[in-house]
Amino acid sequence: MAISLATNAATDALALNRAPTSVGAQEVHKWMQDFNWDFKNNRTKYPTKYLMANDTKEQFKLIAKEYARMESVKDERQFGSLQDALTRMNAGNRVAPKWGETMKVVSNFLEVGEYNAIAASAMLWDSASAPEQKNGYLGQVMDEIRHTHQCGYVNYYFSKYFHDPAGHTDARRVRTLGPLWKGMKRVFADGFISGDAVECSINLQLVGEACFTNPLIVAVTEWASANGDEVTPTVFLSIETDELRHMANGYQTVVSIAHDPAAAKYLNTDLNNAFWTQQKYFTPVLGMLFEYGSKFKVEPWVKTWNRWVYEDWGGIWIGRLGKYGVQSPASLKDAKKDAYWAHHDLFLLAYAVWPTGFFRLALPSKEDADWFEANYPGWYDHYGKIYEEWRARGCEDPSSGFIPLQWFVENNHEIYIDRVSQVPFCPSLTKGASSLRIHEYNGKKHAFSDEWGERMWLSEPERYECQNVFEQYAGRELSEVIAELWGVRSDGVTLIGQPHVTKEGKLWTLDDIKRANCVFKDPLA
């Protein structure tokens, strides 16, 4: 019969050429690349001066099904650990007090970076034309949403279990108070999402992620563990499991433009600008948080920087691209000087303005001072003596009425804020690669701490108009500003920031700050 003949024919054919019983994820990935559009006239909302090639590949061959399964396993493991074993072990309250304060900043500021990276990678999805490249960027959009939640969760977790939750509880409303905030917005927001799309990719993926997430998200877990914090490694190592795909995205951005003549013309300048932009903030801030925000030290920050930034990122990423015309960043020498000294410069200023923090700081102990001098010869004569003077004047005790910011005024050590990076610096005390330069533009004065930022400003002054904290609060008394920007605890009078981390130490209030009569002044006015 006809049907039997057809059935037999089909059975015979399948015996020779068997139908697949399942299809591998990478076969699906390959098949889906055929669902492409004609991008000859790509109309992106986010143009670039570079031409991104139409055949760029994605290194991990991800499809949505495997992506979702992979990420759900990561979340199950992370939240399982946090909500089960770590809670039963009271892990959130076993953290060294100084480190618990450090995590108020690290987790909350990283959350802002992750949030802006959602927009940055979505922008790159729109700019690219190769389907695989788009697929890589799209995965990153979803990753960044996950990371934003994870960072918020770290603050939430500590707000439940850390012995001093103030700051973890309300970081989002109080974080804008101090001078560290606007510099963080420069690297984590402006650097990622404004300007040329490829330039943003270099900032976010090739420098921010491939270079600085290794110290920021990997090395930080060693410091956390050393200081009794098992919460941060659980979350941050899980975050970083997505970062390797983001690093690959950044590398593939370079691959996609490598043969465009514009790359020979612009890429080295864009790379140097991105490197300087990112290092100008991350280098001093991370070094300060690790070394001054910990009781137990892992290794000198300059060694962490030398390993992850100079040797590995420099040699393995940038060095290998040399034959395609990529050069060693011209600002590297100054960046190396910063990696040795700039975090010490920054802590001096951060401690001087401690009332503006949403975290507590502590003067280096005798043990800390010995460690600093052993690892940074010359530290004591330059910085250590100043801390001894501040301690002798009672800077930790509210009854002294002494805020170290007053010492800067008394000794004519003027503090400026670099217009481009928004990082504060004191030209008469700095040992990092900073020196004062001032320009006037449209009737307004602008201070700069280095030639690299100055160059960026000279070519695009309208891009760097952010008002710094001295301009913003000029003429206003410090306690008024703190109260207005929610820098107090739930009693409405005690500051969140404090100049010590001891449980028995007295806590400063708004009245104590008011008695010191510190008034903001713009040094350029």
């Binding site: 591998g24 994820a25 990478q26 076969e27 990935h29 390959k30 590949k57 290194q59 991990f60 061959k61 495997e66 992506y67 992979m70 396993v73 990561k74 493991r77 491939a210 290794n214 998200i217 990997v218 877990t221 060693e222 490694p233 659980t234 190592l237 899980s238 970083e240 499991t241 390797l244 690093m247 690959a248 590398y251 691959v255 490598a258 000198p300 300059v302 060694k303 030398n306 390993r307 992850w308 040797e311 590995d312 420099g314 040699g315 393995i316 940038i318 060095g319 290998r320 040399g322 395609y324 960043p329 590297l332 020498k333 190396k336 000087k337 040795y340 052993a374 690892n375 940074y376 010869p377």
Partner: protein
């Protein structure tokens, strides 16, 4: 588990301290990047990853590539080697006694310095410039 060679965590200048470190660090010749053909891999500790490190990377891969250094850094394994590091998930599946795909592996691959990619069941991180010097391959459909 640790092998001391040029790829060790504290090799070269990193073994120096204080002024000796500073003198080397600030030398003029060390103010530009130097091309390196090494790769770095960071693996988050987990049941599966600890087994893969001990049974595959130490016992098998390190014999093929003696430049591979593996160090315990608390929450993660830090690996560095010349040229490349590979992990075959079909073999991992055999020794773990359960299905274990490349995407299961990626759950605990925390960071990379170098060009990392997947092909079939193999995860590779290489110093080669994938997509520039060497074409990234698709699996056969």
């Amino acid at each position: 588990m640790t092998t001391v060679n040029d790829n060790s965590y504290d090799a070269g200048i990193m073994s120096l301290n204080g002024k000796d470190f500073a003198d080397e660090y600030f030398k003029e010749e060390n103010q530009v990047v130097k091309e390196s053909n090494t790769v770095v891999l960071v693996l988050k500790k987990s049941d599966e990853m600890d087994y893969i490190v001990e049974e595959m990377l130490v016992k098998i891969f390190q014999k093929k590539n003696p430049t591979l250094v593996i160090q315990d850094r608390g929450g993660y394994w830090w690996l560095k080697a010349d040229n490349s590091i590979e992990i075959d998930c079909e073999y991992a599946s055999d020794i773990l006694g359960k299905p274990y795909t490349i995407y299961d592996l990626l759950v605990d691959v925390t960071s990379t310095v170098g060009r990392a990619y997947t092909f079939g069941s193999t995860f590779t991180i290489t110093s080669e410039l994938m997509g520039l010097d060497v074409k990234l391959q698709d699996v056969a459909a």
